[in-house]
Subunit: 337 residues, 2 copies
DNA sequence: TTGTATGCGTTATCAT
DNA sequence: ATGATAACGCATACAA
C-alpha cells in the first residue's frame, strides 16, 4: 500500500505538504496541490482509515444496533428496508455502516464497549429490547445515538407514528361504514400501547363503543397466534365484528385463513386490515388493506439526524421526529352502508 | 477513554508490561497479569481498534458487498437472511461486519479502494452484478474474498445449488405424476442458466419431452411478469401444462392470480411450484410447494471460509462449496396418476 | 509557501 | 520478569 511518505519521496516534498495537498489546503500553491494530487492518484494512493481515525478521533462510521437474538430483526422486511435506506443515506454522507453487537471476541463486550472499541461516531438503535440495561447504558453514554420507534429523554428518536397510524385505519374503516371494529394487537410492547391509544382515541371520536371482547392479544409476525385470536373472537358467541385489524400483514394472513375456516368470506362477511405494508401486501389477491409504514424515511431520517448531531454537537438538542405512513387502499375492506 | 498508559501509571509498571498482561503473555508473572487485568477492568479499559489495527495491519472486520442500486438486494428475504446468519457467524468468530460500497465520501472510491481504505480483512460478495469491473477488480486483488452464488476461478464460492434444486423439483413433480411441466424462469442470469440446465437434465432423465413453448422468461421477484408469462402460456392454444415452476415464491403468487383469472383452479387444474422458500410460503394457504434455499448455511459458510482463508493464508486454495436446500412439501401440487 | 517534529494508542523488538 | 523505545500512517502546531 502506498502511503503519504511514498508520495512525498516521489514528489520531493515533505509528508506535511502532501497531507496538506490531499486536503486541498489553502496554504499551498495551486500547482503544488495539482502536482501532488496527480502523482498520488497515479501511485494509487488510498488513505488509511485506521491511521486517520487514530489521529482525528473520528472514524466516519456509524454503528447500527439490531437485536442479535435467534431471530434477528433483520429478517423482518420492516427493519431490513430501514437498514437499506439507512445505509444508502449514510454512504451518501461519507459514513460507513458497521454492526454493533455484544459478542465481539470472546471477552463479551457490552454494546457500549463495542461501540467505543470501534470508535464509531454514533449509533442508530433499532429493533432491540429498549429496556435492556446495555441499550440504556449506550444511550446515556457520550456516544451520539438515535433510536427508532422508542423515545429516551436524552436521545433523538425517529418514530413511526403508531398512534396516528391506528387512527388513520379507524378513520378509513369508519368511512367505509364499519362500526363493529375488532383489534387483534401484538404482544404488549410500547408500540402496541401506542396503537391501542390510537384505537381507543379514534373510536371515541366517532362515538363508537369498543366491545371489550373485540380487543385481543396476538403476537407480531405470528399468523398462528392471529388465527387463534381470530377463532376465539368468532366463536365467542358474541356478534361478529364487521372488521378486524391485525398486528401486521403477516398476522393478517393467518387471520384470513382462520376466518375462512370459520365459514366466513373476506371481505363480504368480514373485512380485514393489516399493518406495515410489506411488499407481499401488494402482491396477494385480494390486495391487503393496510397501513404502509414509511420505512425508507425512517432509516434516512435516523441517519440525517445522527450525523447532524455528530457534526454539530453544540447546537444539538434531542428531537422526536414522527414519520407518517399512509393507508393502502386494498381489497380486503368492504363498503357497508 | 482510559488507555494502556493510564493503566501503566496506576499499576506502576510500563506500558509494555500492561500490553503483555492484557494479552496473557507467558513472559509475565501470573500475579502481575492478574493484578494488571483486574485494575484494567476496574478502570473500564477498552482497547482502541484503530490503534491496534494500525499496528497489526489487521482489523478483525470483514466487508460485505451488496449491490447498492435503487432496489438493494437487502430487500429480498433471501439476502437479508444470508446477511443475518453471516453477521452472527462473523461475530462469534470475533469479526465485525461493515458494508462496502462505492460512494464513500465524495471522491468516488471503487469497491477495492473502499475495502483497502477500511482495511477490512476480507470481503463477502453477494447479490451484485458479478460482471461489474469493480467487482472483478476486488476479487483479483490481494484482499481475500468469498462470493455467494457465483464462481470466479481464484475465489472461494458458496453456491446455492440451483441445478440440483431444479432437479429435485422436477423429481418431486414427476413423483406426483406430472409430465407436462412448464418452467417460467427469471431473466437470463447465471443462476437462471443453472436452473435451466437442471430442468433439462432432469426432464431428460425421466424421458420427458420438453415442449419449447413451456419454457418462458419472467423476471425474479416480479409477480406481474410471472402473471403475463402465465397467461401467455395458458392462452397459447397449446395444451395446458399440469404443473408450472416459477422463478421464486413471489413470482408464483402473481402466477396463481393469473391462473385463477384464466378460470383454472390450483392445484386441481394446474399445480404450481415456487423457489426460495421464503417465510410467506409457509404462511399462505395453500402452503406453497417450493424449493427452500438454505440461506442460513450460505451466510455461515461464507464467513467460515473467508475467515479460514484470512487466518490461514498459506494453506488456502479456492473452493467451491455447494449448499443444498430441500423441497417444501406444500399444497400447491396435486397428485395425478 | 513549505518543512520539522510530535503524538494519536498500540504492539513488538530488544535491552536490562 | 520487566522496561525503554520504535514503529504503524496520518494530521497539525509551529518553525522556517
Amino acid at each position: 500500500m502506498v502511503k503519504i511518505k511514498d508520495i512525498a519521496l516521489k514528489c520531493g516534498v515533505s509528508t506535511a505538504t502532501v497531507s496538506k495537498a490531499l486536503h486541498n489546503s489553502s496554504e499551498l500553491k495551486e500547482e503544488t496541490i495539482a502536482y501532488i494530487c496527480k502523482t498520488a492518484k497515479e501511485m494509487g494512493y488510498i488513505p488509511n482509515a485506521s491511521a486517520r481515525s487514530l489521529k482525528l478521533k473520528k472514524t466516519y462510521s456509524i454503528g447500527i444496533l439490531f437485536v442479535d437474538q435467534t431471530s434477528s430483526g433483520l429478517r423482518h422486511e420492516y427493519f431490513s428496508s430501514i437498514l437499506d435506506s439507512l445505509k444508502v443515506a449514510a454512504e451518501s454522507k461519507g459514513y460507513d455502516v458497521t454492526f454493533i453487537s455484544k459478542n465481539i471476541t470472546n471477552n463479551n463486550m457490552t454494546y457500549l464497549e463495542h461501540a467505543r472499541y470501534r470508535n464509531v461516531d454514533g449509533v442508530v438503535i433499532a429493533s432491540v429490547d429498549f429496556h435492556d440495561e446495555q441499550v440504556i447504558e449506550l444511550v446515556n453514554s457520550e456516544i451520539p445515538t438515535v433510536t427508532i420507534d422508542y423515545i429516551y429523554n436524552n436521545s433523538t428518536a425517529i418514530m413511526s407514528d403508531n398512534t396516528s397510524g391506528m387512527e388513520k385505519l379507524i378513520h378509513y374503516a369508519v368511512s367505509r361504514g364499519h362500526k363493529k371494529i375488532a383489534f387483534i394487537h401484538g404482544e404488549m410492547t410500547d408500540v402496541t400501547n401506542k396503537r391501542l391509544a390510537g384505537f381507543y382515541k379514534a373510536m371515541k371520536e366517532y362515538n363508537l363503543k369498543v366491545n371489550p371482547n373485540y380487543v385481543l392479544e396476538g403476537r407480531y409476525h405470528d399468523p398462528k397466534a392471529a388465527g387463534q385470536a381470530t377463532k376465539k373472537l368468532l366463536n365467542s358467541g358474541e356478534e361478529i365484528p364487521s372488521c378486524i385489524i391485525y398486528p401486521d400483514d403477516v398476522s393478517l394472513i393467518g387471520g384470513e385463513t382462520a376466518i375462512q375456516q370459520c365459514g366466513y368470506k373476506i371481505p363480504d362477511d368480514i373485512s380485514v386490515i393489516g399493518y406495515d405494508g410489506v411488499n407481499i401486501s401488494r402482491i396477494l389477491r385480494p390486495i391487503i388493506t393496510t397501513y404502509v409504514q414509511n420505512s425508507d424515511a425512517l432509516g434516512k431520517l435516523a441517519v440525517i439526524n445522527l450525523i447532524d448531531r455528530i457534526e454539530n454537537p453544540n447546537t444539538f438538542t434531542p428531537k422526536i421526529v414522527y414519520v407518517e405512513g399512509s393507508v393502502q387502499d386494498g381489497e380486503t375492506v368492504k363498503d357497508i352502508f
